[in-house]
Symmetry: C2
Subunit: 644 residues, 2 copies
C-alpha cells in the first residue's frame, strides 16, 4: 500500500501505466495520454469527468485494483454523483486520488472526442484587399558602378513596378535578404504589409499565402485559415479556450490573473498562446501548409480575452468605471507574443469598445453592418457573455451581459460541446410528448434510424435551446419554468432531487443512460435568456425603440439557433419571425473580413468609436427587467404553426 | 599520469584548481578565472599568452608539477618563443595542453588588466534634441460617463499638453500601462520615441534618463552612456571586440561566418551582443543607473560589423561589387537583438555607405562635417580598417583600406591595448639615441621618474607611431624602414632573427624585459601607413586635388596621434603641420551626436547618399601607389623644429 508508484489501467482503451501515489485519476490519465472530458479543467465544478472505479482479479499479477484504493468520497462529488452511483464506484476523476492500484472505466460521456464546433464560415463576400500582399519583382544585380544595397535595389524595383514607396523592412526579412535575392537570381516574391513593411522575400514565384482570423471566446476559440491570394477559407479549427482551467467566466479569470498568484496573468496568457499555437499547427496541417506560411493574424475577443491575450493587466476591467487599457486597434509582431507563425507576421487586434464589449463585438459589427441596415436591428452575440447591439438609424448602442456558458453546453447536466454525438435540435410531439432529435454527424432526424444507430452523447447549445423551448411549447413546462407535476409520461420522471425530461433514451445513446433536461438545466437557461432579454430591453429604452424590426442571432455555440425556439424561449423582445435570422459566429466572420480587406480595419476603428456603450450592471432598471424576463413569454400569435 | 583531472597552480596569484587532462593552459586559466592576455582568442597567432611552466617540490603533497607534463612544443610556438626561452619553460598558453600537474607562471606582460582605451569624448556641442524625450503629464481618471481607455486618456493628455499627435504605444509599455497610471494617480512621465511611439510610462516625475552611443570597431568596441536630459556623457567604457577570437580582421570573420561552420554568423552575432550587454552593465554601474534606464541606443560600425551585429549574412560584402544588404538607417527593437536595455528601447543603426565604408564613417562625417569645411580636407579614421574621406567643396568621396590592427597594438611584439602601463608617446634624442616616453597612468615623461616607478608593460598605437617616426627622424631607420647596421648604441641590438631597438629597459618595465620595436613591427607599421597613404592619393586623383589643405586624424587607438610623427611616418600626403589635427574617436562621436540630436540622423541619411564610394582594391593605380608609399618620405622642410 505504501509504494510510491501505483499501477492504473483505463478501460475501455486498456491503456495501463504507472502513476505517482496521490495523483488524481485525471492527472494520471493526462500523463498516460488517456482522454477524459474536463470542461472546468479539474476545478471540481463541471462534473464532466465522471469515471467508475472497478475491482478485478488478475491472477499471477501484482496488479491489485480496489475501489478502496482511491481517496475517500468528497462532498463536492455528490453534486454530480448520486448515492446509487457512488455505491457503483462512480467518482470525479479530478477529485479522487490514487492511493493504490486502480482499474478505471471511462464512460462514453466522459470521453473526449475531437471537437468540431461549428464556427462555420458564411459566405460573406468582401473585396479582396488583404493587409499583406505579395508582389513579384525582378531585381537587377548590383554593379561596381552602382554597388547599391540589396534593400535599396529591391525597394526601387517595388517602386517602379508596384508603386510602393517609403518601404521599411522587418528585421528577420533583412537578415535573409542577401541570400534570398541571390538564390532567386533577383526574381523574388515580396510580401508587403499595408504597403509599408516588407515582411519576407522568397526566391520564387509564390502564388498562395495565408492569413489567420482568430476569435478568442471565453469558452471557445476558433480560427479560420484563409488563402490571401483568393480569399478562400482553407481550414476552420476550434478548441475550448485552455484558460477555462483557470476559471469559466471572465470575472473568475480576472481574479485569477490578479490575486490568485503572482504569475497568474502570465499563466493565463501562456495558456491561450500555447493553445493558439496548437490550433495553428492543426489548421495548417489540414490545409497542407506550414505555420510559417501564415503572414498575418487578425484577432477578436471580448475585452478581458483581449487584455489577457496581450498580457495586459485586466484588473481594472472589473472595477467601475471599467476602462480598458486601450481602445485602438493594435499591430504587434507575432514573435513578440510568442505566436509561432511567420517570424515577421503582424497580429492585428481589432479595436474594442468599452467594458466587456470588445473586439469580438466590433467583429460582429463588421460582419453584420447594422449601421447599413434600414430596419431597427438587434444583434445578439451569444457566448459566455452575451453581447447586444441595437441601432435605430441615428445611434448604435451596445451592452454586455453575463449569460454564463449554458448556451455553450457547460453547466448543463448532459451539456457538451458541439462534437459528433451532440444533440443539436429537438422536437417534441405536443400530444404524445414523444421526442425526435438531430445528432451531429447524422444526416437525418433520430426517428429515421434504429435506436442503436444513433449513439447520442449529450446536448449542445442549440439543442438545449430547442429542448427547453419545445418543453414549454408542449406544456411540459409551466410559464415560470417549473416542470408540470400533473403530466404523466414515461419521459417525465422524478430523480432524487429534481424532475427531469428524457430527450434520448439510453438505447439511443453511446453512454448507456438517458440524456435528460433537468430542472437545474432549465434554470440555467432561464438565467441566461433572462439576462439577454433584459439587456435588450434596456437598450431599447435608451434608444426609445418600441418594437424590434430585425433580430440577428450570432454565436459560435453549436449549430445555428432555431429562431422560432429562441422566440418561444424569450431570448429577446418580440420581433416578426421572418425577420429573425441566425448567422453563426459573426465575431469570427468579422475577424475574417478584416483579414481579407484592410478597409474593414479602418471601418472597425471608426465603428468602435461611434458605438455607444451602455453599462448594464449600473443601470437602475436592469434588475427589474431581469426578474421580469425569467419566465417564458406568453405564446405569441405569430407562432401558431411551428414546424415539427 | 593517466588521471582524468590534473592540478594546476597559477603564479603569481597562487590560484589553484583542477582541470581536465588535455585542456590547454589558456582554457584551464579561463575556467579558474585567471586572466591571461589573448588578443587572438586562442588562435595561436598573437603570441600574447606566453607563460612559463615551472617545476617544484611540494613535499607531502600529491601535486607534482613537471614541465614535461605539458604537450610537446609546437612549431607555431617558436614564432613567439626563442630557443633559450623554450629551454626556460616558456609556452603559448593557447597551445600547450595539460597532460599532468603543472605550475604555471604568468609574466606581467601576459596578464590582462582592465582596458581603459581612450575613446574619449570631445566636447562637440550639439543642440539637445534626442530621439527619446520625456513628457510629464497628468492624466484624468476615467469616469462612468466617459469610460475611455487608459491609452486614449494618456494620448489626449499628451496631445493637449505637448502637441503630440497620432501616437502609438510599444507593446510592453501597454502591458504595464494600467498599473503605472494608477500607481501614479495619473501623474506620469511618458517616454516618447521620435514623437511617435510611447516606450514607457513611469508613475513619477523622472528627470534623468539615458541613451547609449556605441561604436563597434573590428578590434575595439566603445560605448558612451549619455544623460538624455542634459546631454552629458556619464560613462565611457570600451572592450576588445569579443569577435576577435573568431578572426582578427573583417575578411576572416566573414569567412568564419559563412564557411567555417553552419552557425558561424550566429556565434559571431552572439559574441558582440553578449559583449555589449556586458559593456552596458559596466557603464550603467559606473553611472549608478540600471541597464533598463537606457531608452535608446545608436550604433555605428563598418559594414561587416554592422551586418554581423544585425545577424545579416555578410558574405556578399566580400565579393565584388561588394553590395551591403542595406544602406538605409534602421530602427530595431533592442529586444529583437537580445540587447538587455529598456525592453521598449529602439536601436538606431546609422546608415552605411558602400563596401566596407560603413556607419562608422557616417559617424565620422557627422562629427567632423567635412561638407561644411572651407579647406580641401582629408579625414583618416584609423582602425583595423582605415577609412578615408576627401572633399573638395563639390564632391565628397570615401574609401576603405585594410591597414591591419598594427595601430591598435596587435601584430606588434610588445603592442598592447591602451591600458595602464602602455607607452603612448616616445621621444628619441638624435645625438645619444636616448629614449624618453610617456606611460598611460603616469603624469610626466619617463625621465622624471626613477626606473622602478615607471612599470611600463608594452606600447599602444600612438606610441608605436611615435617610436617608428622617431627612429626614422633620428637616423636609426633608413628610408626603406631597415634598421641601420652602421649605428652602434646600447639600445640597438641584434636578436636571433631581427634587429630591434629598445624603447624601455627591463628595469623600467613591469615585465622584467626590454620593451623593443623590432624590424617586424616596423614592417607592419609600413604596410599600414602605406595603405592609408596610397588610398589618400587615389582619392586625391579622383577629385583632382594636388595638395591637402587640412588633415583630420581620427581613431580610437590609444591617445591622440601626434600629427608631426604621423607626418614623418608618411601616413598621408603632405599637408601643412598646423592644419593637421587629431580628434580621437570621431565615429563614436558621431554616434553620440546622433543619439543626442535627431536632426543628425536625417543628416546622416543624406550624407550616406551623397558621399561617393571609391573601391580601392579594383582601382588600377592602387598597387603602384601602395608600393611607392611603403618607404618613409623625405624629411619635409616644414618639420625642422620638432618638439622633443
Amino acid at each position: 500500500m505504501n509504494k510510491k508508484k501505483v499501477t492504473v489501467i483505463f478501460q475501455p482503451s486498456g491503456r495501463r501505466g504507472q502513476a505517482e501515489r496521490g495523483k488524481t485519476i485525471l492527472e494520471a490519465a493526462q500523463e498516460l495520454g488517456v482522454a477524459i472530458e474536463s470542461i472546468c479543467g479539474g476545478n471540481h465544478t463541471c462534473g464532466k469527468c465522471r469515471v467508475r472505479a472497478k475491482e478485478g482479479l488478475f491472477e499471477g499479477s501484482s496488479f491489485e485494483p480496489q475501489i478502496s484504493n482511491l481517496s475517500t468520497f468528497q462532498p463536492e462529488e455528490s453534486n454530480f454523483i448520486g448515492q446509487k452511483e457512488q455505491g457503483e464506484g462512480y467518482r470525479l476523476a479530478c477529485v479522487a486520488e490514487l492511493q493504490g492500484d486502480a482499474l478505471i472505466y471511462i464512460p462514453g460521456e466522459s470521453r473526449t472526442t475531437q471537437q468540431v464546433i461549428r464556427k462555420e464560415v458564411r459566405n460573406n463576400s468582401v473585396e479582396l484587399n488583404p493587409g499583406v500582399k505579395c508582389h513579384y519583382v525582378e531585381v537587377p544585380p548590383p554593379s561596381l558602378k552602382e554597388p547599391l544595397g540589396d534593400f535599396e535595389r529591391l525597394s526601387r524595383a517595388l517602386k517602379n513596378n508596384c508603386g510602393l514607396k517609403d518601404l521599411s523592412i522587418d528585421f528577420p526579412a533583412l537578415q535573409s535578404l542577401p541570400q534570398r535575392l541571390r538564390s532567386g537570381e533577383g526574381k523574388v516574391s515580396t510580401f508587403v504589409w499595408m504597403d509599408r513593411e516588407i515582411l519576407d522575400v522568397q526566391p520564387e514565384k509564390v502564388k498562395d499565402f495565408y492569413g489567420l482570423a482568430v476569435d478568442i471566446g471565453t469558452t471557445t476559440v476558433a480560427v479560420y485559415l484563409c488563402n490571401l491570394h483568393n480569399g478562400q477559407v482553407v481550414a476552420t479549427h476550434s478548441m475550448m479556450n485552455p484558460q477555462v482551467i483557470f476559471g469559466e467566466d471572465v470575472m473568475t479569470r480576472i481574479t485569477y490573473a490578479m490575486t490568485d498568484r503572482e504569475d497568474g496573468l502570465k499563466r493565463l496568457q501562456e495558456a491561450i498562446i500555447e493553445g493558439l499555437n496548437g490550433l495553428v499547427q492543426s489548421a495548417a496541417g489540414t490545409a497542407g501548409i506550414l505555420a510559417k506560411d501564415i503572414l498575418e493574424m487578425v484577432v477578436v475577443g471580448n475585452t478581458a480575452m483581449h487584455h489577457i491575450f496581450l498580457g495586459i493587466d485586466p484588473r481594472h476591467l472589473g472595477l467601475s468605471p471599467f476602462p480598458p487599457a486601450i481602445h485602438n486597434s493594435l499591430d504587434i509582431k507575432a514573435r513578440d507574443l510568442g505566436l509561432k507563425i511567420h517570424p515577421g507576421a503582424n497580429v492585428h487586434v481589432l479595436p474594442i469598445e468599452a467594458g466587456f464589449v470588445g473586439a469580438d463585438n466590433v467583429g460582429v459589427i463588421l460582419s453584420e453592418e447594422p449601421f447599413k441596415k434600414e430596419e431597427i436591428t438587434l444583434i445578439i452575440d451569444v457566448g459566455t457573455n452575451g453581447e447586444l447591439i441595437l441601432e435605430n438609424k441615428q445611434r448604435l448602442v451596445s451592452a454586455s451581459c453575463a449569460t454564463g456558458p449554458a448556451f455553450e453546453g457547460a453547466h448543463i447536466k448532459f451539456g457538451m460541446r458541439a462534437a459528433p454525438g451532440a444533440i443539436e435540435h429537438v422536437r417534441i410531439d405536443p400530444k404524445t410528448l414523444d421526442v425526435k432529435f438531430k445528432v451531429i454527424g447524422l444526416e437525418k432526424w433520430s426517428d429515421e434510424y434504429s435506436p442503436v444507430e444513433i449513439q447520442a452523447r449529450g446536448i449542445c447549445g442549440s439543442g438545449i435551446i430547442d429542448a427547453v423551448a419545445e418543453m414549454f411549447r408542449t406544456g411540459v413546462l409551466e410559464q415560470n419554468g417549473r416542470i408540470k407535476n400533473s403530466i404523466s409520461n414515461s419521459r417525465l420522471r422524478k430523480t432524487e432531487n429534481h424532475n427531469e425530461f428524457v430527450i434520448a433514451r439510453a438505447e439511443e445513446t453511446s453512454i448507456s443512460q438517458d440524456i435528460t433536461i433537468s430542472a437545474n438545466d432549465i434554470r440555467a437557461v432561464q438565467l441566461a435568456k433572462g439576462a439577454l432579454y433584459a439587456g435588450a430591453k434596456i437598450l431599447m429604452k435608451v434608444l426609445g425603440v418600441e418594437r424590434l424590426e430585425k433580430v440577428i442571432l450570432a454565436g459560435g455555440f453549436g449549430s445555428y439557433i432555431d429562431p422560432e425556439r429562441a422566440t418561444i424561449l424569450g431570448m429577446f423582445p418580440v420581433c416578426d419571425l421572418q425577420n429573425i435570422i441566425a448567422v453563426g459566429n459573426a465575431a469570427g466572420d468579422g475577424a475574417r473580413l478584416a483579414l481579407l480587406n484592410r478597409g474593414k480595419r479602418a471601418e472597425a476603428e471608426r465603428m468602435a468609436r461611434e458605438v455607444e456603450y451602455i453599462e448594464l450592471t449600473t443601470h437602475p432598471d436592469f434588475t427589474n427587467e431581469f426578474i421580469n424576463a425569467l419566465p417564458f413569454p406568453h405564446m405569441q400569435e405569430d407562432l401558431p404553426h411551428l414546424k415539427s
